[in-house]
């Protein structure tokens, strides 16, 4: 079926990029839904027409052009595909925990399109996830923004190629534990965390200058200056300083959040999003003024010291202080019901439907730099859509269908039981995972492997 669509599209010569020819784009007309556009209000009994992966019309009584199938969504809700600004689903590696700065690491290198978590996320209406490096390092690796095109075998096909670059930073307990306490190198304290970042940026400035000098000298006659050492770690920091990369910083306490705001001010960096940000509520005015906001948990707290003084009202306080706020999962479990996580902002702080839904659609889109492409139902945007039975903010809501680029990847009514993309030819008994929920939290994955085997066993922590 999918193959046919691909062939058809190829025949009529529709937008088939040469580099990623496998990325499929679909056409469909969804009729009579309550359309939650996010940016343009709610439209009762309305239709959305998708052609070749793009939303081309939104309105009433639309008719399907020839060859485009129609889906009747009477009584159902249609919303933009949910965007998770913090996930580790679809990655073979999460942490390269061996150095306090590993900016050269690319999560795009280790994307695994076979991971069942991608399908499970789709079944929760999630079409885009921000597949992040873990939080072991002060400056971790570069993240990948994924589009959940389930069934693709090529990692390049699930990477959102038109999303800007982002990078993971991490403050507080995790980097100080791994490097300071675990390995005896800076940082061991939150002072050290600041120093590592400042050192990194200053070295990056020197690196930039060295290359500029060399490039200039090379063009001169009789040049004798030789090329500096190539260092992708520092080059990546240069790119951050040049505004080419959005920082997404794992952070919990207000003091460390405030610290990073001061650091980026000093280096004139504008693109900064805080992740988790459990004490963000304490510095909400600063986050609102100086950053691209915060991406937070709905209600997680108390699993470690730095989240003990948290409040489930965090998102509401941030929102009401004008900070751009999104709700994320950081978990292969939570990612399946982000609509419900967003709904908790109504219990804790009484946010409106629009505010709550924006936190899993247009707001994370802005934080990932893709708001011109996705995050709302508007003509011209990519057709990432989710159909719900029941309002998505109801605890009883059940996602029905999920589309990426107009292609339906999940349909509750025709769901195949076994969705595994790959089965080992030598599998005797399928593994049963009785602690699946604990394993869902992978912010510190691969760190334990990095430490010695026996210590590793006693080294389990969530975020």
């Amino acid at each position: 079926m999918k193959k046919n669509i691909f062939l058809l599209a190829a025949l009529i010569g529709l937008g088939m990029g040469t580099t990623h020819a496998q990325v499929q784009k679909g056409s469909v007309l969804i009729k009579n839904a309550t359309v939650l556009t996010i940016t343009k209000g709610n439209l009762e009994s309305s239709d959305v027409l998708v052609q070749n992966g793009i939303i081309t019309q939104v309105g009433k009584n639309l008719t399907a052009p020839t060859g485009i199938s129609t889906i009747d969504a009477t009584g159902k809700y249609l919303m933009p595909g949910i965007i998770d600004a913090h996930s580790h689903v679809g990655l073979d590696v999460v942490n390269e925990a061996s150095a306090p700065i590993t900016a050269e690491i690319r999560m795009k290198d280790v994307v695994n399109p076979y991971e069942i978590g991608i399908y499970r996320a789709l079944a929760g209406g999630v079409t885009i996830s921000h597949a992040m490096h873990g939080s072991a390092n002060v400056i971790g690796g570069q993240n990948a923004t994924l589009k959940h095109r389930w069934g693709s075998k090529d990692p390049a096909d699930i990477i959102m190629q038109d999303a800007p670059r982002t990078i993971k930073f991490a403050l507080g307990e995790n980097p100080t534990r791994v490097h300071g306490r675990g390995n005896g190198i800076q940082p061991r304290s939150r002072m050290g965390v600041e120093a590592v970042i400042r050192n990194g940026f200053n070295e990056a400035l020197q690196y930039k200058k060295a290359w500029e000098n060399y490039t200039l000298a090379k063009t001169q006659k009789g040049n004798t200056s030789t090329p500096p050492t190539y260092n992708e770690r520092l080059q990546t920091l240069v790119d951050i300083l040049d505004g080419k990369i959005i920082i997404h910083c794992h952070s919990y306490r207000a003091d460390e959040i405030y610290m990073l705001i001061n650091v980026v001010k000093d280096f004139n960096i504008k693109k900064l999003v805080f992740q988790h940000t459990n004490e963000g509520f304490k510095v909400a005015p600063e986050i609102a003024e100086y950053t691209m906001g915060a991406s937070v948990f709905a209600d997680w707290w108390a699993y470690k010291m730095e989240v003990y003084y948290s409040t489930a009202y965090n998102a509401a306080i941030l929102q009401k202080n004008g900070a751009l706020t999104s709700i994320n999962s950081d978990s292969a479990e939570l990612i399946r019901h982000l609509y419900h996580e967003a709904a908790k902002t109504q219990r804790y702080g009484g946010l409106t439907d629009e505010e709550a839904l924006a936190m899993i659609t247009i707001n994370p889109a802005k934080q990932l730099g893709i708001e011109d492409k996705v995050g709302s139902i508007e003509v011209g945007k990519q057709a990432d859509l989710a159909i719900f039975e029941g309002h998505p903010l109801s605890a009883y809501a059940v996602p029905q269908m999920t589309f990426v680029d107009g292609i339906k990847y999940f349909d509750r009514n025709s769901d195949q039981l076994d969705q595994r993309q790959w089965v080992a030819a030598t599998e005797m008994v399928e593994p049963i995972h009785l602690r699946a929920n604990e394993e869902a939290h992978r912010c510190m994955q691969d760190v334990d492997a990095y430490f010695e085997a026996f210590q590793g066993a006693f080294f389990s922590e969530k975020h």
């Binding site: 003084y309 605890a395 593994p431 869902a440």
Partner: protein, 433 residues
């Protein structure tokens, strides 16, 4: 300055009580006992239908009257027009009160050293002032089973109400000995044992469990025959299960383990409750046939196998109930027990239905724990554990307005709410002026 005052006060207070006038702003609201008349609510009794425009009178810690014309001259009246009254919600399995900050070992008290420690009492270590208790109860969860974990027989679980200053004040009248049934499942990502070894380990653990059980049986027989036995608290506690004094709470999740567990308890003639039961849906008919009640959850959980349909954990409770299993729900949580109503909503949406889901967190756990005469529904004579909500308490948009536990009116505040109050409009704001 404050510190100086405090130390002064410490010494002076005793001598000069009248001088203790350090300035303190604000007033701390405590839980309050009394006689309360909840007027004109829609009462969802769970066991006796839904009653409109009905008032409920609480006195002496009990529900004393329910009706349309209930009045009282000396009760504090709370207007509940447009509001809904539900019984207090019960979580059938948590670690609430046993842990404060899970990554700080000094604050984690639910696991003891040793494989056989049924004599470890969860109730002993319940911290009545754990932050999570205040955070939980305003969600409408008034009562939880708090359960030790770790070895084969990790300890004795206790039912607690989420109000009180001592564990005894909180104790809800039900205890059970916990058991982690030997598992044939993989323990996690790091468990790379071969299938054969997992099976072998499982058999070995099963054999060990049976030996311990026989030991406890001998202990009880000899004790009953009047023998003077050496102090043996582990066997003393296990023998209470054999004698029927305490039920056995068996944590079991993999399908094959569930079948083994059913077989294991078959001829034992003891009171058994299964907990977890993540793969119960695979063996629902056998479970129903065994008549063993089940406390299942968390509902918001990942499937146990990669090939499973994505929604099996949501649908598990519904499939069990449909097969005829008596089902209660649990979160298996510590700090986020407050999410139990939402777990129930997911179970409801994926097959259990709203009515059964409500029962699964009220009257069903009360019946499974043998305390339905006091808990689980809004009925005259039962404990005054109830909540007043703006709507369906399983919905996130509903607000819980009042919570009563054992007749105490619970202040609708906790640290999460106080931080909201303090920081919503911070002063100073962005600029210091």
């Amino acid at each position: 300055m404050n510190r100086i005052l405090t130390s002064f006060c410490a010494t002076l207070l005793a001598l000069l009580p009248l001088m203790a006038v350090a300035q303190i702003d604000g007033e701390f609201v405590k839980p309050r006992n009394g006689k309360f008349l909840l007027k004109n609510a829609t009462v969802v009794t769970v066991t006796k239908g839904t009653l409109n425009n009905t008032s409920v009178l609480l006195e002496n810690g009990k529900i004393s009257q329910i009706g349309t014309g209930v009045t009282s001259s000396d009760a504090e009246e709370i207007d509940c027009t447009g509001l809904f009254i539900y019984p207090g919600i019960i979580d059938g399995g948590t670690r609430l009160g046993l842990v404060e900050v899970s990554s700080v070992p000094e604050t984690v008290d639910y696991a003891e050293i040793g494989n056989v420690s049924p004599n470890m009492q969860a109730l002993t270590t319940v911290n009545p002032n754990a932050e999570a208790i205040g955070v939980t109860r305003v969600s409408g969860v008034t009562t939880v089973l708090t359960v030790p974990s770790g070895g084969l027989f990790p300890g004795t679980a206790a039912l607690i109400n989420l109000n009180g200053y001592t564990p005894d004040q909180m104790y809800g009248g039900f205890k059970a000995v916990a058991m982690s049934f030997p598992s044939s499942g993989r323990r996690g990502r790091f468990d790379r044992r071969s299938d054969e070894n997992i099976k072998k380990d499982g058999e070995k653990a099963m054999k060990e469990a049976s030996e311990i059980w026989e030991n406890a049986k001998s202990y009880l027989e000899l004790k009953n025959s009047g023998a003077e036995l050496t102090y043996y608290p582990e066997m003393e506690q296990l023998s209470k299960v054999i004698s029927g004094e305490l039920p056995l709470l068996i944590e079991v999740n993999a399908a094959s383990d569930i079948l083994n567990a059913i077989k294991w308890v078959e001829e034992k003639n003891i009171k058994v409750i299964f907990t977890g039961v993540a793969e119960g849906w695979r063996v629902a008919d056998q479970l129903a046939k065994s008549k063993i009640p089940v406390v299942t959850g968390p509902v918001q959980a990942l499937p146990t196998r990669a090939s499973d349909r994505y929604d099996t954990p949501y649908a598990n409770a519904g499939m069990l109930a449909k097969a005829g299993v008596k089902v209660a729900l649990r979160t298996d949580e510590e700090e986020n027990v407050r999410n139990l109503p939402f777990h129930a909503a997911f179970a409801a949406a994926y097959g259990l239905g709203k009515e059964e889901a409500l029962k699964a967190v009220t009257i069903n756990p009360a019946e499974i724990f043998g305390i339905a005469d006091q808990y689980g529904s809004v009925e005259v004579g039962k404990r005054a554990n109830l909540i007043v909500s703006t709507g369906d308490p399983f919905e996130t948009r509903s607000q819980i307005q009042h919570v009563f536990i054992d007749g105490y009116r619970i202040p609708m505040s906790n640290r999460h709410i106080r931080l909201y109050q303090e920081f919503l409009e911070r002063s100073p704001g962005l600029n210091a002026n």
